[in-house]
Symmetry: C2
């Protein structure tokens, strides 16, 4: 099959999958993932990984992380959708979830970068001295902050003045791929560099203009190939041996986030219902979990069986999370209206 036919098939299937998923009130990423699993070697053998899907999927995951902060489409996009749906966005819980999610993403990205550079099989991980290991990493984070603060705004303004077609959009992509390449050369993961490039651009006045330009490049070309490629890497052979692992991972993923998030929120003064909403809002990892699984697989931190397990866990928690969140919001809203009613009654008795 020519790569053009592959690309056409991937684009058609993912958009239909996303539509079906959205229609059934599931996040669109679920549909796009399942389409890849169905079309891939695990089930229908329609698509197989090639050097073409490799390039496009790798650029897809980089662009996905890069877009994240520009479009505010972090890993809690599913939570945001539920909060909006239930008119619970402009509450204290909503604000806490959004803030915590950004912090969570940044920490996740940094931890991932450190894990890959310490335990991965990249070139930088081969040297054994702790100093030689730590130095490029420290250098990397300092570079990212310095470049992000001073170089990125200057670079965008410089390109904005150029007399060339799509100059600002190109500048943004140069920063995205340039930071990704820089991260790789310092022994970190490419998505980490792209994430910092997106973070820096989201602080500039070009943010809105660029969102409109970069979104089609991401969602109409590269990101669908990334989602499908996840399905292409999945294998169900021998999964029966991992069922216990998968079950444990699901429990840890849900309980850890739910109780951890709720505990933190409760300690800082939210009542039990509100704290539970915050906890449930943090459960879904969506896109971020997929990025982590992908980076871990390509750095040989996990094998294909554990990769499959991680994807299965991501799909299941992403499906469960919105339901749990809805439950807690409904309970909070019911309680809230009961308190209101009883207050009205008290007021009535008083007057």
């Amino acid at each position: 099959m020519s790569y053009l036919v592959q690309l056409v098939l991937i684009l058609v299937l993912t958009k239909l999958g996303a539509h079906l998923s959205n229609t059934l009130n599931f996040p669109s990423v679920i549909g796009e993932l399942l389409v890849g699993v169905l079309a891939g070697p695990a089930v229908l053998h329609l698509l197989t990984p090639t050097s073409f899907t490799h390039y496009f999927a790798e650029i897809g995951v980089i662009v996905l992380m890069f877009i994240g902060l520009i479009l505010s489409a972090t890993s809690v996009s599913i939570t945001v959708q539920v909060l909006k749906e239930m008119n619970h966005m402009n509450t204290r819980e909503g604000a806490i979830i959004l803030g915590a999610a950004v912090a969570d993403d940044i920490m996740c990205v940094i931890l991932l970068g450190i894990c890959v550079s310490l335990f991965g099989t990249g070139a930088a991980a081969q040297s054994q001295s702790v100093g030689a290991l730590a130095l490029p990493k420290i250098l990397f984070f300092i570079l990212m902050l310095v470049l992000g603060k001073w170089f990125v705004p200057y670079f965008l303004r410089f390109f904005d003045k150029l007399n060339a077609s799509e100059n600002v959009a190109t500048a943004a992509l140069i920063l995205c791929f340039g930071f990704a390449a820089l991260a790789v050369s310092l022994g970190m993961s490419d998505v980490l560099g792209a994430y910092f490039a997106g973070l820096a651009i989201s602080e500039t006045s070009f943010k809105e203009k660029l969102a409109l330009k970069i979104e089609p490049i991401g969602y109409a070309v590269f990101i669908p190939v990334f989602f499908v490629s996840i399905g292409l890497n999945i294998t169900f052979k021998g999964m029966q041996h991992d069922l216990l692992f998968i079950g444990l991972l699901i429990i840890i993923a849900i309980i850890g986030k739910q109780f951890g998030g709720a505990l933190g929120a409760h300690l800082f003064g939210l009542n039990l219902n509100e704290a539970n909403i915050v906890g449930a809002g943090m459960v879904s990892r969506g896109e971020m979990a997929l990025v982590v699984a992908n980076v871990a697989l390509s750095a040989h931190l996990i094998d294909q069986n554990h990769y499959t397990a991680m994807i299965v866990v991501t799909v299941i928690t992403t499906l469960i999370a919105p339901l749990v969140l809805k439950l807690f919001i409904q309970r909070a809203q019911k309680e809230h209206s009961e308190i209101k009613q009883s207050r009205t009654k008290i007021d009535e008795v008083k007057s």
Copy 2:
């Protein structure tokens, strides 16, 4: 060099090249081309062709042809620029050039498709019977017209209703790559299919909306790689043997278009000055010539030396054409104002 660094280098160099070119009043395509020649194996050895540049350049040329009609950026874009600059756009000559250029493009694309399928080394060209050769081609043109008229508008409306991110932009790309793949499967060139997809979309109400979405995908990602890849395929070894061929080609290219265009315009009633403007306006082939050279090289219709010769001729004619056009316009405007002056004098004498 990793493909990310390659991509960053290509994007930075092409936009700087385009800016420099525009600043010096040359069309931007010249700067983008020369950047590829300089960075490529012919001069600095910074970039070499890889499977990555292969995929991106191939998609680039497809998207370039696809965008052509949606953005009205046909091969006379350089002419249009000059006409606008000199306030000569809304004249009879301007209208004739634009109309003739579209007809010229379509005929060029069709001739190219027929040449490739008859003389190229594609799978379909292997069979020897004339009937077996002609049938798929006739089928192809009928298919393109029927699909373009009925399927394309329906497909865009269908995707427009989908609940998925960037649904319409994705639909346009599906049509672009789908038609290209269809063309290949019927023994035609992929750019021919993409051109018909663009033609069909430009007739729908989605045209303006899509231009905004597809332009960044083309000009910020794939098309720069196509322009640079042309430079990567160029070789100056043994070019001294082709100097006569190049000289002849330049003379034929300029004289043929100049006299041919002027003759046609004069036969249909334009005066000599106006007819010369039309002729000069048709000389520049710009992007279309690059597409043709590229398709011909990959179909083994020409070798690398003739490819280099074609690119050199395209660059030189593209540099000369606007100068000649300006000359004729200045002459026409001068003559026009002289006629006006003498009329005013006659009027003054009369009164």
